[in-house]
Symmetry: C2
Subunit: 66 residues, 2 copies
Amino acid sequence: MAIKNKKIKIARIEKDMTQEELANIVGVTRQTIGLIEAGKYNPSLKLCIAICKALNKTLDDLFWEE
Amino acid sequence: MAIKNKKIKIARIEKDMTQEELANIVGVTRQTIGLIEAGKYNPSLKLCIAICKALNKTLDDLFWEE
DNA sequence: ACATGATGTTAAATATATATTACATATAAA
DNA sequence: TTTATATGTAATATATATTTAACATCATGT
């Protein structure tokens, strides 16, 4: 089972955003955000960057491990 | 026409690697690397991370555009 | 107890990343 | 000129990301 991405969830909650709100901003569905946070997805670079910009973070902030 | 990703090409050449060598290390084909460098691809996060590790760089180093 | 909002999760359909194969060009070496 | 290596590019096939729709749980509020 994949590793959860808590960083996105934390950054999202810091901004008082629901999964659905974030999804609307970046142009995907709620389920896609949910699955990314659950670590069950391998999102595209474009989507990663869109999430970063919506949350005022960088790729390293949200998607880099180690 | 999409923006070229010169950062990858530069980092690859710094390591004296051909597109094919990098492709073998990260487990994709030469064409995939070529198209990413040409800016005509939207690679997966997993592939981006593999490329970063092969070139001793981070996601922000290679894939973040202000 | 009932309603509502946020989230987890799953099945099937669609869009797109990636592989495969092939052919082209450019460059450097023999 | 020929040979070999590195790269650009395109067509079709396959794998997988993402959508859509549906139903579930878990809070919190009324």
